[in-house]
Amino acid sequence: MKDTVLQIENLTMQFGGVVAVDNFSMEINKGEIVALIGPNGAGKTTAFNAVTGVYQPTAGRITLLDENITGLRPDEVTLRGIARTFQNIRLFSSMTVFENVLTAHHLRRTAGLFSATFRLNKAEEKRMREDTDALLKKVDLYDLRDEMAVSLPYGKQRLLEIVRALATRPKLLLLDEPAAGMNPQETDELGEFIRRIRSEFDLTVFIIEHHMNLVMKISDRIYVIEFGKQIAEGTPEEIQNNQAVIDAYLGGGDEL
């Protein structure tokens, strides 16, 4: 069980004079839940965006299951098996819960524009709809199927965003602060949910999170970055007792 799903080698992201991510390397093995933590502005989301193709890396190499995906477009990255959620929820606001998840099936279409318009792809369309309903039932969102996505309570919206990402059938799921704005109970449920989908959907999970309780509870390994550089890596216990991490979170070690 030591197959590497995602490998980041010497990733550097530079915006003008600012180095947001500096020579950062990491790897995630199949079935792991790996967290990336660090103070605000440490470069966590930038690293995510480089992996998912939103940004072109200044330097470095990103490999998904032995395939080089450095510099691919976001839709190409998704097609190869990385799905993500966003720090600020980005659901399709004109669509229902059902349509949001259904839209995520579009990437596996085989029908062209013409045959889709003239309904020559009935079987495929039917399968997409059935898969969507099956997925919604599996994650207990079926009751909300026909609600507008943006009218859901906040916690459900976060959940729906994860489900929508699952509908692209990813091998690796990237969650960008999924617990942001959630109360402790919702956060607990989210932790359970992430563990559940990992086993049910045979996933590998890469998560950015600020809720330390959640991170410590669900992560197999944790990477810590500060100012774009890795300062620690290890199991939750190791990280909790790591002096560099404590310094980063409590403020500069020099003054101690």
């Binding site: 998912t52 939103v54 477009r73 976001p74 839709d75 998704t78 097609l79 799905a83 993500r84 966003f86 980005r90 659901l91 399709f92 606001s93 004109s94 669509m95 349509e99 259904l102 839209t103 995520a104 099936h105 579009h106 990437l107 279409r109 029908a111 524009l113 889709a116 318009t117 003239f118 309904r119 792809n121 009935k122 369309e125 039917k126 997409m128 709809r129 609600e147 507008m148 943006v150 009218s151 929508r164 990402a165 692209t168």
Partner: protein, 368 residues
């Protein structure tokens, strides 16, 4: 896409059938010069162009202002290929009868007009669709202006007749069925354009409700999220742009048939704005709204407000303000009120079947 029609859709289908049947009966019984037929013909034409613009602006979120340009291409291609060969010396009198010496059936020429418009859209789309919002609007607007000038270019005269009028091609009146003496037996000059327009709009609706239509709506809602769901932005925008332009081209051909003459200088930016206005009044993201607004818009500008342009008397006193051009003042005023107080348009994002559904309490319309 259930096999069985649910009640709201059934009512919608019945309404549409009733409208077509009503138009057919009216055409046989009323004087063909009645203003209502003018409104229906031009309204059907504008409805198609408005829906095609809505596909871009309302459903895909691409703010394009090139519609008049694509209509021009459709109108020109249609008329160039349908003028009867024996009439060409008259039409192309300054260009020795023109270069093209064959004609096509009107139906094929109409589709060709759409295809040429779509081809132009494809080529323009390659650079232009990389731009966002305002920049894209300016670029497409510029394109429409260039096309307008280009088609009037003297060197293209043997094909486009330069800045002269194209005429003597088939018009809506040719849809009427005549007997051997040339008397009209069955009037179809309003029904056929409405059917052509209806079929085209139905195709656009099918597209909107297909998996590609959902992808386009996703792009409108959130480009970043759409891309993260594996939707290739450039190719889907290009599809929407080409399909929209195809139907704008067909609409242009219909406009040519309605007007009976075509001249490049009449496809102005103002025409695009008229269409945009119809789309906004009807509701960005509602096909039903675009159709309703087209007929209302045409009826108001061509018919209901006409009396404002004439001198009116009440008890021998001439009313002030009523003179040529006052109609447009009132018209602009109405539009300002609509835009200020009814931002969602007539329909918002609702379609006709939605009106027959029981209101859901949980639905919260977004106030964008």
């Amino acid at each position: 896409m259930k096999k069985k029609l649910d009640l709201p859709h059934l009512i919608t289908v019945l309404i549409i059938i009733a409208v077509y049947a009503g138009v057919f009966v009216m055409e046989q019984t009323m004087a063909p010069t009645s203003m209502i037929f003018t409104v229906l013909k031009k309204g059907a034409t504008y409805a198609l162009v408005a829906v095609s613009m809505n596909l871009l602006n309302g459903f895909t979120g691409i703010f394009s202002l090139g519609q008049a340009g694509f209509m021009l291409i459709g109108a020109y291609v249609f008329s160039i290929f349908t003028i009867p060969v024996d009439q060409r010396p008259i039409v192309y009198q300054y260009y020795n009868g023109g270069l093209i010496q064959f004609t096509m059936p009107f139906f094929l020429a109409m589709i060709l007009g759409g295809l040429v418009a779509a081809l132009f859209a494809f080529l323009i789309g390659l650079p232009v669709l990389r731009l966002k919002s305002d920049y894209l609007a300016i670029a497409t607007l510029g394109f429409a202006e260039i096309i307008r000038t280009f088609f009037q270019w003297d060197k293209l005269g043997p094909i486009t007749n330069g800045s002269n009028m194209l005429r003597l091609f088939p018009t809506f009146n040719d849809f009427n069925i005549r007997n051997a003496n040339g008397e009209v037996v069955v009037y179809l000059s309003t029904l056929v354009p409405m059917i052509i327009s209806g079929i085209c709009i139905a195709i656009i609706l099918l597209l909107i409700n297909s998996t590609y239509g959902r992808a386009m709506r996703a792009i409108k809602d959130d480009e970043i999220a759409a891309e993260a769901m594996g939707i290739h932005l450039a190719s889907h925008k290009q599809m929407a742009f080409c399909v929209s332009s195809f139907f704008a081209g067909v609409g242009g051909a219909m406009l040519a048939m309605y007007q009976t003459t075509v001249q490049a200088k009449s496809f102005t930016t103002a025409m695009t704005y008229e269409i945009l206005l119809i789309v906004v009044i009807g509701g960005l993201g509602s096909v039903t709204g675009s159709v309703l607004a087209s007929f209302l818009f045409v009826a108001a500008s061509e018919w209901w407000l006409r009396f404002l342009d004439q001198k009116q008397y009440i008890g021998g006193h001439e009313l002030p303000l009523m003179r040529n051009g006052f109609r447009l003042v009132v018209f602009s005023f109405i539009i300002m009120i609509v835009v200020l107080f009814f931002r969602q348009g007539i329909m918002g994002t609702k379609e006709l079947p939605d009106l027959f559904r029981r209101k859901k309490t949980t639905e919260g319309g977004s106030a964008k």
